[in-house]
Symmetry: C2
Subunit: 300 residues, 2 copies
């Protein structure tokens, strides 16, 4: 008799995140030069999918129902994750990196604010992710320190930044192992951190934290494979040719390396792994299960 | 009967910092793609003055003598400060920023490793500053959370990054208030954080923390004024003309805004303020007093 639908739940969660982000951004803006805050706001408050903060809050809510927790540390973790994700997009779009002019249909940060300011806005989003995550009451300090360690390890040289380095390497091999390692670092580490940080903020025991670990790893890979598949199939339908932007840019993708059918099967297997991990936490029909299914069923 | 001399003490402290940094860098390298670690190492282990880590450890040592503390959190704080300082130099040197080819007599990071890798190496140094600061035993987690908050606030939009934005603004006024605000943010905030973080890691009470606050603010400004003076006087002697690189680059400096004599007096006043702040902590003839004097008496 569940009345849960992702179509009703997800927009409400995204709105919850928008409100939190706007508040955190204003508190950062109060101590910042106006034009820096403007450049940060331009990219942070541009209405992305908010996948990482939504996952973080969903885990925090799922775990806190059974124990105690969530609250401001979970809210700050959600916002810190989006600050990190946003800075990575701003820096990835720079002329020296992917040299992109458009992001979500709008001019990229450096096209509007200039390259120097885009670098600095990214640096500030990255740094202040940690200031808002670490600042709280003395009673929360230990929990917040733990959240900082999770986020920094996932975002740094052994995680997201390292994955970007693997992705721009000219001699990268077209092999499944390399592709999985690359995506586990470049996007998977932060998605997994979102799940783990939500669980930690919600007061997870070792079992719930293991569930977050497995779910985050599986959903991160499923999401990436689905992205690669969309790039092929969306182009095939819309453009009448079999390959899309990834192939044109010389990127190795799951379909290119293991084929369409095996890619689809791998994505389904990852989703099954995610569903099994969170079933003990929320039953078979909760938001985490719905998000896992959505990761491969979405159309954009 | 003090046998303390800065000439004996400072090289030993710098060596202490080099050893710590090399160890931390190796632990980051173990989880990082090799070429990213190489680019990080190139700038982190290039033999700077290590002012911020030396200040951090000196405060930690001075405070811990009276109470308990220091140890690994102080060591990690020292290394995290240098990671942040190093990333800021790597990003400041980029073509879109100051476009510098040389740093400490060697080619800048992007000249050797390329612009994309220099951006990413800077991002990783910034992020992993927080991973090494936040990772420790559960008993230290609360202390480490507090250190993260100090560092992130000093380095972010309201501190170092914000100061860099003020420094590259084209409409910046040639006024003492603006100049002091700029330098308090761009270099002062991190120097003050070095002092405060050392004190906190050493187990400072409120009084010792106040001393670190005043000393850090004063030494930060004294150091910057001395830099500006060196740029004028070193050029005047070496080049036979009255202005140096700052004036050529259109930078506002303390000598340009308030004159040579008043700049010298301001620097001396800041040093006096620093000496008064730390006298109760270490007496009149300790390393912190010597470092404050050195900040304006150095020749490079």
């Amino acid at each position: 008799m569940s009345t849960f639908t992702l179509e009703g739940w997800l927009p409400a969660q995204q709105k919850r995140v928008e409100t939190l982000l706007a508040g955190r951004m204003e508190s950062i803006a109060r101590r910042s030069p106006a034009r820096l805050a403007e450049a940060m706001r331009y990219s942070l408050l541009d209405g992305g999918k908010r996948l990482r903060p939504v996952l973080c809050l969903a885990f925090s809510d799922a775990v806190a129902r059974a124990s105690n927790g969530g609250g401001e540390p979970a809210n700050d973790a959600a916002c810190a994750l989006e600050c990190i994700h946003t800075y990575s997009l701003v820096h990835d779009d720079l002329p020296a990196m992917d040299d992109d002019d458009l992001r979500r249909g709008r001019p990229t940060n450096h096209k509007v604010h200039g390259e120097a300011m885009a670098i600095l806005a990214g640096d500030a989003l990255l740094t202040d992710a940690f200031s808002l995550l670490a600042s709280g009451s003395p009673a929360e300090q230990s929990l917040r320190g733990r959240l900082v360690a999770e986020l920094a390890l996932a975002a740094g040289a052994g995680g997201m930044v390292g994955g970007q380095v693997l992705d721009i390497a000219e001699d990268r091999p077209a092999e499944l192992d390399y592709l999985q390692r690359l995506h586990r670092m470049k996007t998977g580490a932060l998605i997994k951190a979102a799940c783990r940080m939500g669980a930690i903020a919600g007061g997870a025991d070792a079992q719930a934290l293991d569930a977050a670990e497995i779910y985050g790893d599986a959903v991160g890979l499923a999401f990436q494979i689905a992205d690669d598949l969309l790039d092929v199939t969306a182009s095939a339908e819309a453009m009448g040719k079999p390959t899309g932007a990834d192939a044109a840019a010389g990127r190795h993708t799951f379909p290119a390396v293991v084929g369409l059918e095996r890619s689809r099967q791998m994505a389904k297997d990852h989703v099954a792994r995610a569903l099994a991990a969170v079933a003990p936490l929320e039953g078979a029909d909760g938001p985490l299960a719905a998000l896992a299914r959505y990761s491969i069923e979405r159309s954009s």
